[in-house]
Symmetry: C2
Subunit: 473 residues, 2 copies
């Protein structure tokens, strides 16, 4: 806990609604989406950028540690306090006043506390959306702080590409507000400072407002399950689809047999879509979409997809073993159920990796080959975004495995996976979850000394106060 005088002073700045100090009211802010149970000194809930600024200035002057928290849906322990009870959570959940749409510019200026789903609901009647497709429903500030990607990155890119501007409060003695809230697509008048606040878990400043690029909502969508003839054919299939569909292609997701089988077994509402109920070794979900309503004389999108698949099917060395077009909600239902499905197999140890596109399958094969010897009883249940190189590399340990009794097992496993992914395959140990307490040690290990030195310098330049769960540098 912190002294009562601080609670009183912060209440004076933020009002009664702006400060939470009772243990039972703080619980939700102390508990992370997947793992964490921390203890907060207090929770601040400012309602405006000016209030964020005043609260931050007070905390910096009094050397109080702040953890910015947005939707608190992250999985790397980036947004919760540690167990010391000395860190103050600064929540964005009341920063939900302003939402200013500019239809002509296809952009929106919006407070960072809005949830993704709320933003998109407000944009629906204008046929626009913020094109980041995620399983969870974060608030915008956290999406920026983690630079989320998602399932349609292949077509729309991630948060970085779709952020035009930011308003940021720095953790200095004045709570300086940086107006980087530009709403232009082309602007080359110096350093693009907003970039350093994207994907850095709030350590360099707290995003309170953002200007986002919007896209038009697709009016037609067609989806299919594709069964590649072999693991290597996943890539041939991706190339064949990109060649023939270009910007139509909006998702190209991969799902391993283990992940599918676990999900079908544990989510009874899902029907098994495969011939004879036999789950193939690997399945691709492909989606194509376009923004206009069906037009007379134009092939339906299902027909386009079918004819492209027929063309690929008939090509020499066809990379396809099977394929069937189906209604998007049915096809996606299986994909969306995977994160939940794999959990039922045992203890889940999740990795969020990325690779050059050509290396994903090779890496997964490599791991599936070596796993039985290195970590017997651990099942690889991978799925991911083949089109952009991302893979949710999930490992499941049977609940009765002796490995779980070994104190250093998880650490040993993580180190091995990262060593193979990063050192042998040139991959990334965090594709789209950013850095948090949970992968801090790997940031420390894999980041060159010079870049850590530069990060320390940048921290001093921007937010010298105690801000964020991550030590950069």
């Amino acid at each position: 806990m912190i002294g009562k005088e601080h609670i009183d002073a912060l209440t004076k700045i933020l009002g009664d609604k702006g400060v939470v100090a009772r243990a039972e009211d703080m619980r939700a802010y102390e508990t992370g989406a997947r793992y964490d149970e921390g203890r907060a000194a207090a929770v601040l809930r400012p309602g405006t950028t000016a209030e964020v600024s005043a609260a931050v200035a007070y905390c910096v002057r009094n050397d109080l540690a702040l953890i910015p928290q947005s939707g608190n849906t992250g999985v790397v322990s980036g947004s919760t306090p540690d167990n010391t009870g000395t860190e103050i959570v600064l929540s964005l959940d009341r920063l939900t006043r302003q939402l200013e749409l500019d239809r002509n510019n296809r952009s929106v200026r919006v407070d960072a506390g809005f949830r993704l789903s709320d933003l998109n609901r407000r944009l629906e009647e204008h046929d626009l959306f913020f094109p980041i497709d995620l399983g969870s429903d974060p608030r915008l500030g956290g999406m920026i702080a983690t630079n989320t990607g998602g399932s349609r990155f292949l077509k729309y890119g991630g948060v970085r590409r779709n952020t035009l501007g930011l308003k940021v409060v720095l953790a200095d003695e004045n709570g300086t507000v940086l107006d980087l809230d530009c709403d232009l697509r082309k602007n080359n008048t110096g350093i693009d400072w907003k970039q350093i606040f994207i994907g850095t878990t709030g350590a360099f400043g707290i995003v309170t407002e953002c200007v986002l690029n919007l896209e038009r909502v697709p009016k037609q969508t067609a989806t299919a399950f594709l069964v590649p003839a072999s693991g290597a054919d996943v890539l041939h299939l991706l190339n064949a689809m990109e060649e023939r569909l270009g910007a139509y292609l909006s998702a190209f997701e991969g799902m391993s047999k283990n992940a599918i089988a676990a999900t079908l077994a544990h989510v009874p509402s899902l029907k098994n879509p495969f011939q004879g109920g036999n789950v193939p070794d690997y399945v691709i979900l492909a989606e194509i979409s376009r923004t206009w309503a069906p037009r007379e004389g134009e092939q339906s999108l299902d027909a386009v997809l079918e004819s492209v698949l027929a063309e690929i099917w008939e090509s020499e060395e066809a990379p396809l073993a099977d394929a069937f077009v189906g209604p998007p909600h049915e096809i996606w239902a299986l994909r969306h159920a995977l994160p939940e499905g794999v959990k039922h197999l045992g203890k889940l140890i999740a990795f969020d990796l990325s690779f050059r596109r050509g290396d994903i399958m090779a890496f997964c094969d490599h791991m599936k080959t070596e796993m039985p010897e290195k970590f017997p009883g651990v099942t690889v249940c991978d799925f991911g975004h083949i089109g952009d190189g991302g893979v949710h590399f999930n490992l499941v340990v049977a609940k009765d495995s002796p490995l779980l009794a070994e104190a250093s097992f998880e650490q040993r496993l993580r180190e091995w996976v990262f060593a193979v992914a990063v050192e042998q395959y040139g991959g990334s140990f965090s594709a789209e979850h950013a850095i948090g307490r949970r992968n801090q040690a790997f940031y420390d290990f894999y980041t060159p000394e010079k870049l850590k030195e530069m990060a320390r310098g940048l921290k001093t330049l921007t937010s010298p106060g105690k801000l964020g769960s991550v030590r950069f540098g």
Copy 2:
């Protein structure tokens, strides 16, 4: 000039081919694409990153000033030395050894000295290209240093979006090489340091190698001239086209009557495409494209464009006065001739501005209304990238105008244009040309003190030596 001992030492590092010191051989490196005539102390032409590093380290230790130069095609005096004869040009023109294509990843790892046209020629046989469409033919390092955009930004984005990784030499006493040469699309493992070298004219480090995203070459293209019913209808037309064409739309360029008329008058090879030869007040060039070859049973792209235009034509309050689909090379010929065409009218004073899309036409109208009173005899010959908010706002002063005799005329004009663009319309004074000596004063004037302080700090953190033509901070 610098002392002979420095020339000798640098020759020892770079070899005879790596150092140019004779006045006549330096001329091309001292002369800019549009305005500049500087004087170099010497020209360095390293052939590898290691040579860049060694040369930079020597110069920093000896307090010698370096100007990085790439294709030297920029128009803001970013890549040429000043008139003191004390600055050394470091040219990238021999950094053209490595070009490593990764087809599966749709990326290329390439030395920064390659010209855009050379890169795309090498990629042609693979049906891939680096999708930045420019009138000039810069080298890649300079494209990164200026974050170029171009005519198809609407579809592909600019350099920032298409840069996956960089290798950078810092101007410190060791000529530190930063390996930011990641080839992943998703990678969130800390600060994305490459961003600070994009669009900052080489002041924070010299880019020697880059990893770039590639796109598939369009196999079908259809183009049209559209005549909007009014100035305000330019925007309605853009919205109508985006709604109906989505990701097909690859260019939406605007051309003013003045710019077209000047070009038709002075480029005799162009035929006048307009009814009765009457140039409309404003004309849009729209392009749609797709990456696959024509397929049986599929509407041709010309037919798609025609049917969409017919639909818009028949809509209520149709924003179209006229429209005609024509062969891409004919349609683009007029657009490509504009930069040359407008020069013939008199003395050209060029601005590279950007706005929210909804404000471009309002700004241009505003200026056309006020110009005759403020600067009689100055003609507005604007054209630009309506789809992304960029406008090449060209002013032409008749050769016999008394304004040209006024010493402060150009300065006065620039200050007024920027004041209206930036302060009244919230626009940018540099859309895609970045900062150079030529617009340094406007960077100084429009950049908030806090951001300049941060820029100074970042300069110390990265390249404390004398590097680049721009003073950031």
